[in-house]
Amino acid sequence: MVKTKYLGFQSVSLIMAMLFCCVTQAGENIPLVNTGTTPKSLDRPVGKVILTVDGLISHHNLNTKAQFDLAMIRALPASTLYTSTVVTDGVKRFDGVLVRDLFELLGLSDQALHVDASALNDYLVEIPLADFYEYDVLLATHMDGVLLKPIDKGPLWIVYPRDSRRKLQDIRYDYRWVWQLKHLNIR
């Protein structure tokens, strides 16, 4: 009787141990948990740097920063959206890449919650990281097929799918449309 009981206890601990191993292994396969333990270096920008990202990212190409030229950004999956904006008339076509695709490339820490976006004119705004996963927020390089220049809201413009989501037609989202974007700090 006693022997059987002991055996029962033993097998339970064995199963527990196996489960624990599985959990650990599965954990290692999730990229977001990988906070810089296996840094993967990004390509160095060849052309003019238009965007710098730092903060809770795991892949860099200059010290703790990741710098991008236009070609590097356009190498990400292209995305298009049509929307009106508060500073222009009519529906505009925006081409660029999804912000979350950029973040995917950078390997964001799971502790990251906010993004501080700053512009060429030093305009700084805090954006909740969740925005980029909840909506298809674009890092636009083109408006109506024309490359955005610094003299006209370029080189990058954070564009929300304003027309397709009623919730985004709100002044509290309008200020997150940073244009002349130059820097992102993930924290």
Binding site: V86, G90, N121, P150, D152, K153, Q169, D170, I171, Q180
Partner: protein, 452 residues
Amino acid sequence: MTRTKKLLIRYILPLITIILLLALLAVALFRLSVIQREMRYNSNANMVWVVYYTHLESLRLSDVIQKKALNPDANVDLLFRYQMLLSRLNLLHDGPQSRFFDEVGLLAELNTQSVMLRQLEPLLGASPLNQAQLKDLQHALDEFSAFMLKASGRAMTAQWEELGAGVDMNRNAVLAIIVIIIAILFCSLFISWQLLIALKRSRENERVKQQQLELQKQLEHERKVSELYRSFGGMVSHQFRTPLAIIDASMQRLIRAAERMTPAQVVDRAVKVKAATERLTHLIESILKADRLLEQVDMQLQRFSLADLVRQVIDEQAFLSVNRQVSFSAQSGKDLQALCDPVLVSEIIGNFLSNADKYSSADTAIAVYIYQEDRWVCCQVQDQGRGISKADLPHIFQRYFRAGSVADVAGTGIGLYVAAELAALQRGKVTVRSDENSGSIFTLCLPHHFNK
């Protein structure tokens, strides 16, 4: 109140109120939806912001120009700052911003200023800048700065005006909605009041109807009582008159001719008077007996064979004529047990038999038959007598009722009434079928003992 006035107050006025209520509700909802839409509308509140940033860029450019003037080797990016300013200028020329400048009457000046600023590019490319160039640049930027101050002032006022107008509109709308709600409240109160009145009126009508019903019942009762008295009076006048006439005639004879009469004749008169008196006593007895019987019934329902009970009553024969033939038969193969009180059954069957005997000639037979039908056990008594007319048949079980055809036979009209009452007491029933001149069939039906 005239009919038209009544119609107006009871139906048209509440109807109008309800329509008004619905209309007011619709208006209130419309006003609310307008407010809701206005709340979603983003006004050009960011115009102040846009102007501020443009002004700031011009000041920053001015700043680096001054630094450059003081120190030609200063590490400042003049062209970058100039481009930033141009990007802001471009923004001012975009749709919403351009419309705002138009609205506040500054579009022409904006265009002039833009042309002037764009013409500065060659100057900024020059290096080093001489005093005259610096002065030109500074002058242009000062002018633009003054323009921006003016624009920001206008933007500010426009924004505040718009805000104020919005607040005014909302306040008016809210006030209108409050008024509408008060009106709705009054309409609702009026409708509720009308409803209460209608309710009260309907209750009143109900009460009046109830009273009328009650009165009708009382009237019916009174009518029955009066009919009862009439029947009683009729019966008494018929039944009592004959014996009284006999007594009266005999007495008259005795008074007038007593001396000439023989003792035997006197005795003969006295016997006649005695018989008449006995008949009267008997009548009174039977009337009283019926009441006593109904008032003091001590009923006990038990299982009895109706055939046995009836045979016993026939055997007693006390009330039958001497030579009367009575045939008795019972349905074979049936359970003829009924739930009844034997004393009451004897009374009913006795009444049927005595009636049959009274109203048919002595040489005809009376047939008694016991049978079962559905949930009843019945006893029918059939005679070959004079029968009952169609007109009298429906009244035959009424108290003191006597058929027209039996005026020559003494009777109180109580027997059949009592029979019907006693049958009902036992949850049974009495029925009659009759043809004038060919006889009557009286039937007593009692519940079968299975019905217990």
